[in-house]
């Protein structure tokens, strides 16, 4: 009998098939208000996928507008009504599309969908924990997130339309309904949604951190944790420290909008109407927003990096190169990400001296990122690479991380940023490094842990198709956009029709739009694969990828509490792949060194003299060559 605490008190009739105190659950407690981390992970994932599809749809709408600004598309009017009268999207609504696309993608897909899903799934499973530290709070975290999504989507169904001041909602534009219709009720909903979303993230984050710190199984010290867990752990810390600042900013903005304060407003005249606000500064919002906003991009990318580390290691059949360096670079990124927010504000009129300082810190953060990249490459070197769809996505992730990261060196340089700020170069940069790279990390995670989540396999061939089309199209979409930026084309332009020099980019826009449409259609392959395989996929085996980590020691069939009987003990780090002397090319973390005498290495014992003596004796008896090499 296990010692798990079950939170399910509604049903007391015991399920006969199990002997670990498993209760029969009603539909509501099992699928809706579930407190089981695996179910919550699935809820996060499916909500994230739904939101991603919506946000992708929005992007296709505005891509159509950009490619064919003069043509009318009757179907747009069918869907959008007065926002696309005569089949042409209106400028206000175009901005709303851009805003909501960004908000959904950054917050709901890449923050909640990514770290919500995989932190919930993997932290307990890879650390040998029955469930999260606080399952109830975990459930609340999901339902707050869900509410935030509903509120955000509700803004499409109001008279004045959704928020349309860009996803960064800079006041005064976002504070004054007179400036743009979207800053009316739509903006109020946006702020309410963000407020609830942050609450959700905090509950999730506190749970992740306390679970990681307190509940690891026997033997699982911090340096035996898989890199995924390190990434989720540090991401959660980042979130806990930075999200409250956004809430502070949001509350002040709500006050400015609804209660007549002047935190962000001063010296404003709308038309000829002089507003009474005095003494505020729009720059304050930018500081508060980017104090979250910049860590936020690392909140998005770090889980993707963690997932890729795990997937690349498993599928190269090699230990991740430089495990410690990987952890230290994650820690470095975590710390540095708090002091680089000013690089979003080089040309806002912020004191130029500050700009110089932020440039230095920004370019320093490129160093740990470079270390990670080189370590991935070194992991692939002389590996035995199995191209599962997850592995393909992880390699794609590394590629996007390099491409997008390098353009960051331009933007992080304050002098170069003068001319690149708010142009398509920025759009191209962050869609590669934080959009595509993070999405590919997320897809790698979905493909890799799908058997763990649903007990079935996804179809690999559809996965290949999905990967290749998406990978190629993502480059086709975002690579040319750099050059628009270098030509001085600003982002968030409704149409390129008013400028002579932008005419030459219209053909590029058409090409980009078609690529985006093809990429969007390729997602149908993924969606079909995902939902079809839940019900009809091939049944998964317990450890389909032959991986070392603990989650693959749980039964395929989900049980509340994860392990029937005792929680496994951990003896070794998670990356003993293709260890010389071992029979298999992987040694799970639960295998003690006493069972792998033929493959043990001196540094495995971390200076434990007794173990080293035993190993030496064993080697002398069974493997004299090795004894000579390692122990003199």
């Amino acid at each position: 009998m296990s010692t798990i605490t079950l939170n399910d008190t509604h049903n007391n009739d015991h399920h006969d098939g199990h002997d670990h105190g498993h209760h029969k659950q009603s539909f509501i407690t099992k699928y809706v208000f579930s407190q089981d981390h695996k179910m919550i992970a699935k809820q996060f994932l499916i909500t994230g996928i739904v939101m991603a599809v919506i946000a992708m749809g929005l992007s296709i709408l505005f891509r159509i507008q950009l490619a064919w600004p003069d043509k009318s598309f009757p179907f747009l009017e069918t869907f959008l009504g007065k926002w696309a009268e005569g089949g042409r999207i209106k400028p206000d609504f175009y901005l709303a599309l851009v805003t909501i696309h960004g908000t959904i993608m950054v917050f709901f897909v890449l923050t909640a969908g990514l770290s919500g899903t995989f932190s919930n799934l993997l932290i307990p499973l890879q650390l040998g924990v029955r469930d999260m530290a606080s399952p109830f709070m975990n459930m609340l975290s999901y339902w707050f997130f869900f509410t935030a999504c509903v509120i955000m989507m509700a803004s499409f169904f109001i008279e004045t339309g959704p928020a349309s001041a860009g996803w960064t909602v800079y006041p005064p534009l976002s504070a004054l309904p007179k400036a743009i219709p979207g800053s009316g009720l739509g903006m109020t909903l946006w702020l309410a949604s963000m407020f609830i979303f942050v609450a959700s993230q905090l509950m999730g984050g506190i749970n992740y951190v306390s679970t990681v710190l307190n509940m690891r199984t026997k033997g699982m010290d911090l340096w035996k944790m898989p890199l995924t867990i390190w990434a989720f752990f540090l991401t959660a810390i980042l979130g806990i420290l930075s999200f409250p600042v956004l809430v502070a900013g949001v509350v002040l903005l709500i006050f400015d909008r609804s209660f007549g304060t002047s935190f962000y407003l001063s010296d404003i005249v709308m038309g000829t109407q002089v507003l009474p606000n005095q003494g505020g500064s729009p720059i304050l919002w930018q500081h508060l927003f980017w104090f979250l906003g910049h860590p936020e991009v690392y909140i998005v990318i770090m889980p993707a990096l963690g997932i890729s580390s795990e997937v690349i290691s498993v599928n190269s059949r090699k230990p991740i190169f430089g495990y410690h360096a990987m952890v230290y670079s994650l820690i470095g990124i975590t710390i540095l990400s708090f002091i680089v927010w000013g690089h979003h504000m080089f040309v806002t009129g912020m004191n130029p001296l500050l700009g110089g300082v932020f440039m230095i810190t920004t370019l320093i953060i490129a160093v740990p990122s470079a270390v990670k990249t080189f370590n991935y490459l070194a992991t692939l070197w002389r590996g035995n690479i199995r191209f599962t769809p997850a592995m393909l996505c992880a390699i794609g992730m590394v590629s996007f991380f390099i491409s997008g990261g390098l353009t960051g060196i331009f933007l992080g340089n304050a002098s170069l940023d003068i001319n690149l700020h708010d142009t398509y170069f920025v759009v191209a940069h962050f869609h590669l490094v934080m959009g595509s790279a993070a999405i590919f990390g997320m897809l790698a995670g979905v493909y890799h842990w799908y058997p763990k989540m649903f007990g079935r396999m996804m179809n690999a061939k559809l996965g290949y198709l999905h990967f290749w089309v998406t990978f190629i199209c993502a480059y086709l979409v975002f690579f040319p956009l750099h050059f628009l930026g270098l030509d001085g084309v600003p982002r968030r332009y409704y149409a390129f029709t008013e400028f002579e020099f932008m005419q030459k980019w219209v053909t590029v826009n058409i090409f980009v739009t078609w690529s985006a449409i093809v990429a969007a259609l390729a997602q149908v392959a993924f969606l079909f694969n995902f939902f079809y395989s839940i019900f009809f996929g091939k049944k998964a085996t317990q450890n389909p990828w032959e991986a070392n980590t603990l989650e693959w020691t749980t039964p395929v069939e989900h049980i509340h509490g994860n392990w029937p009987g005792e929680i496994p003990t951990v003896y070794r780090w998670p990356y003993d792949y293709s260890k010389p002397g071992a029979e298999e090319d992987y040694i799970p973390q639960t295998v003690p060194y006493s069972q792998t005498m033929s493959s043990n290495m001196p540094h495995d014992f971390e200076g434990n003299a007794e173990s080293e003596r035993i190993q030496r004796e064993w080697d002398a008896k069974n493997n004299p060559d090795k004894a000579d090499v390692h122990f003199h």
Binding site: S266, V347, I385, H482, F483, L486, R492
Partner: protein, 420 residues
């Protein structure tokens, strides 16, 4: 054999569906054409409404899905037959993907070359300002460095993917760490970045921390943004842009200039930004309503305009518009400045022309620009009214001494306060 039969049945069924779909689309096309082609008989079928109909694309997509499904099934059958015949697995997907990565690398490298050469030639011409040349130089250095890393790491990434693809005969090389290597690829990027940071920092300082030369004072020009328009204000003969206060903004006093300040009396407005070449210009940037961004890319200038805060950008243009026209071989070429910070529905069309001219041309031009002050404003600020005849800017400077002429006030009322 029954499997074969099954697949052939399926194929036949699929073919039937394809035929039906094609029949439908062509019937659809004919219908649309019949509607359009009432006048001409031999007119080609107008496909445009069809290209715009969702049904057309939905069907195309379904067709594609069907095709993929058939290919998928065929592969499955092939693999099953191989399995049944106890031969090695049909398709080695590791090889396929490895080869695809190499192909992607080769095609991708060509794509990058194409982008750099074709789209790379469509970007902004060389900077037309002193600091812009420094920025361009640094851009080029950064571009070369990052391109080397970009190409190098991608060659490594994709060729490793190809060379180390799975093989049953081989075991991966257990290589958990190498501190020397780690040190190298920490220190080398750190050094390169240090160089870039230092260069960037010095350039940044040289742009924003200028030492004022008393003999060579910059020309001050104030730019005010408001939703979807810019107002340009020249300092007039005194070279000083006068004080303003947003609370003074009215229908006639669009900028809220305080005419109690003498410096305002000779301020002029203009419809385009005309600046003399090789003379320092100091832009004074302000905003009336929301955030905008003053973006003048040919000169590598961008700075947000913030309500409640004045920001400054000093630069020296080095190329005249005429020279640039010959340089880029386009007689219609114009320098522009426009808005690059989201500011509302008209954000995409908020531009003004910039003209860089010789000092002589500038002097001749600036004298013709109208003064902002007019009799309505004089009245509002209790200043003596000037007869209309004396109002044109070309007349005597400092018109505060002109005698009040109440009878001409009615005429002056009709004069617009500001040229937009």
């Amino acid at each position: 054999m029954s499997l074969r039969k099954f697949i052939s049945n399926k194929t036949i069924a699929a073919l039937a569906v394809i035929v039906t779909v094609f029949a439908n689309t062509s019937a659809f096309a004919q219908e649309a054409a019949a509607g359009a082609a009432t006048a001409a008989v031999a007119k080609p079928v107008d496909m445009f409404p069809i290209y715009k109909s969702i049904a057309f694309y939905a069907m195309l997509f379904l067709l594609l899905c069907l095709f993929i499904a058939i290919v998928g099934k065929a592969m499955r059958v092939y693999e099953l037959t191989r399995e049944a015949q106890e031969k090695s697995a049909g398709i080695n997907w590791d090889t396929v993907n490895g080869v695809l990565f190499v192909l992607f690398l080769i095609v991708g490298l060509y794509g990058v070359y194409f982008e750099y050469t074709v789209h790379g030639h469509m970007i902004l011409p060389d900077a037309a300002s002193e600091h812009g040349q420094k920025i361009d130089q640094m851009f080029n250095i950064t571009l070369i460095l990052t391109t080397i890393v970009f190409i190098g790491t991608h060659i490594v990434l994709f060729s490793f993917s190809y060379f180390y693809k799975h093989s049953g005969k081989r075991k991966a090389y257990y290589y958990p760490h190498n501190n020397a290597l780690e040190r190298i690829w920490t220190i080398v990027p750190a050094l390169v970045l240090t160089v870039l940071v230092l260069m960037g920092f010095l350039t940044w300082r040289s742009i924003f921390f200028k030492i004022e030369d008393p003999n060579h004072k910059p020309l001050s020009i104030e730019i005010t943004s408001q939703q979807f328009a810019w107002t340009i204000r020249y300092p007039g003969a005194d070279g000083v842009v006068g004080l303003k206060n947003y609370k003074l903004i009215t229908g006639v006093n669009a900028l809220g200039m305080d005419f109690k300040d003498k410096n305002n009396l000779d301020d002029q407005t203009a419809d385009e930004l005309v600046i003399p070449v090789n003379k320092p210009v100091r832009l004074i940037l302000t905003s009336k309503d929301v955030l905008h961004s003053f973006y003048m890319p040919h000169f590598r200038i961008q700075l947000n305009t913030v309500p409640g805060m004045t920001s400054y950008f000093e630069f020296t243009p080095t190329i005249t518009t005429a020279d640039m026209q010959t340089k880029v071989n386009d007689p219609a070429f114009k320098f522009l400045f426009y808005c690059s910070k989201i500011c509302g529905s008209g954000h995409y069309n908020m531009q003004k022309v910039v003209r860089v001219v010789s000092q002589a041309e500038y002097d001749a031009w600036v004298i013709k620009q109208p003064k902002i002050i007019n009799n309505d404003l004089r009245k509002a600020f209790n200043l003596p009214i000037v007869p209309e005849a004396a109002a044109p800017a070309a007349s005597a400077p400092a018109d505060s001494t002109a005698k009040p002429a109440k009878d001409s006030a009615a005429v002056a009322m009709n004069k617009p306060a500001l040229k937009k």
